[in-house]
Symmetry: C2
Subunit: 248 residues, 2 copies
């Protein structure tokens, strides 16, 4: 395996695995969900802007996971949370989901499996993969991430994240258990994310951190996560530059 | 995703995922372990034939997992069981493992991460992957299977198996939980194995079955698993023929 360890000047730790946040960092969820929501909304006569619909659906993401993190409900995979949130957001837009065909709702729910990567992802990952183990460390479930990877051509070495660690980021266990299944120390893993909060939790769990901003994740008026808010180990504008910075 | 379902004439079920036994079916564990044991045995002055050593180490595999299956000990990943078994087999060969350097033992234990695939595996998997989700359903742990895949170039879509399902084959849950994390029915999954017993358990759990004999897994005098002992859905002499039979 051509997997020469890379030392970070900051800590001299050898990084063996790069773990990627997925929604926002690797794939453009807003455009992808809006693209698949548009014909659904038209077909069912729902008056909603597809991007606003995507934003509203995504806004229910953290609260739904919080129920699991808090222990209020047992671990539930993200596809199920997305499906419940879809019913809720339809009600918010004035539509009773009970009047819509279940197949149509299930298909729209799988829009989260059909998201496209940002243009730099595939060339960047192709450069990184010979040198590092690369895997998602996502709150997405295994089936979602497998289907996404096959459709988009994401060359992951493994599908890790919430469903394997049975914990939702930013819970510490999501990071530490992922490192553990790779038989690596947290410091041998680098979290790559477009979200400062994800990197903050990863750093607290002992991982190295790389920030790749995605200033269009939330559309043209994005106000958050435009810049590195702490001194992350690496900051790069895209995955090819990340590869450059890591000597890959 | 170019993943047209394939219907089996037997059941007309659409197969979406091929799940592969790994040790013996995908990789030649006996040759690989013997190759790495040879210099270890010489260096430490242990009089043992490397292939006999590999066989003796492997003979402790099922009994160690049985302790987990029976509930006598909690789920323990295979790397740990292999490491304990290494100490035991060294004692069987008259050597106190306590007198050997821990690094040297740990490195030999990772021989199981450095196994080579049978020659037909990479071309066969390359044909199968555009049409099916392909993943190991192995008793190996995630780190072992990730390291093996990166070194050997095995193009898995996911790393599944014991550590994800928290059950060791042939426990039913190893099969059913693996299908479940892929959000597939058991009948949408096909177990591919060189071992009749693995396929028997997979079939009982509702999976389709493909037998690919590996008549040299146990060396030139192998007496078991030379032929299909039940009417498996597919029988093929190697992975390229398996692809042919599945229309991939």
């Amino acid at each position: 395996m051509n997997q020469s360890p890379v030392s970070l000047s900051r800590s001299r730790t050898l990084i063996r695995a790069l773990l990627f946040d997925t929604f926002g960092t690797v794939v453009d969820w807003r455009s992808g969900v809006a693209r698949d929501a548009a014909p659904f909304l038209t077909r069912h006569g729902i008056a909603a802007d597809p991007h606003e619909f995507a934003d509203a659906w995504r806004a229910r993401y953290q609260p739904a996971m919080e129920e699991v993190r808090s222990g209020a409900r047992p671990f539930t995979r993200l596809d199920q949370l997305h499906r419940e949130n879809l019913d809720a957001v339809l009600r918010d837009f004035g539509t009773d989901p009970g009047r819509l065909p279940g197949d149509s709702l299930d298909d729209l729910n799988r829009a989260w499996h059909r998201l496209d990567p940002w243009p730099d992802c595939l060339p960047g990952l192709a450069r990184l993969r010979p040198r590092f183990i690369i895997a998602p460390l996502s709150n997405g479930n295994v089936a979602l991430l497998v289907n996404m990877a096959k459709r988009a051509g994401l060359p992951w070495d493994a599908i890790l994240g919430a469903e394997v660690s049975r914990a939702y980021k930013p819970q510490r266990e999501a990071y530490t258990r992922t490192a553990d299944v790779l038989e690596l120390a947290p410091a041998e893993c680098m979290m790559v994310a477009a979200h400062n909060s994800d990197l903050e939790a990863a750093r607290k769990a002992g991982l190295a951190t790389a920030f790749v901003p995605r200033p269009l994740e939330h559309g043209p008026n994005q106000a958050s996560d435009l810049v590195a808010e702490e001194g992350w180990d690496v900051v790069a504008p895209d995955f090819t530059q990340l590869a450059e910075r890591l000597g890959a």
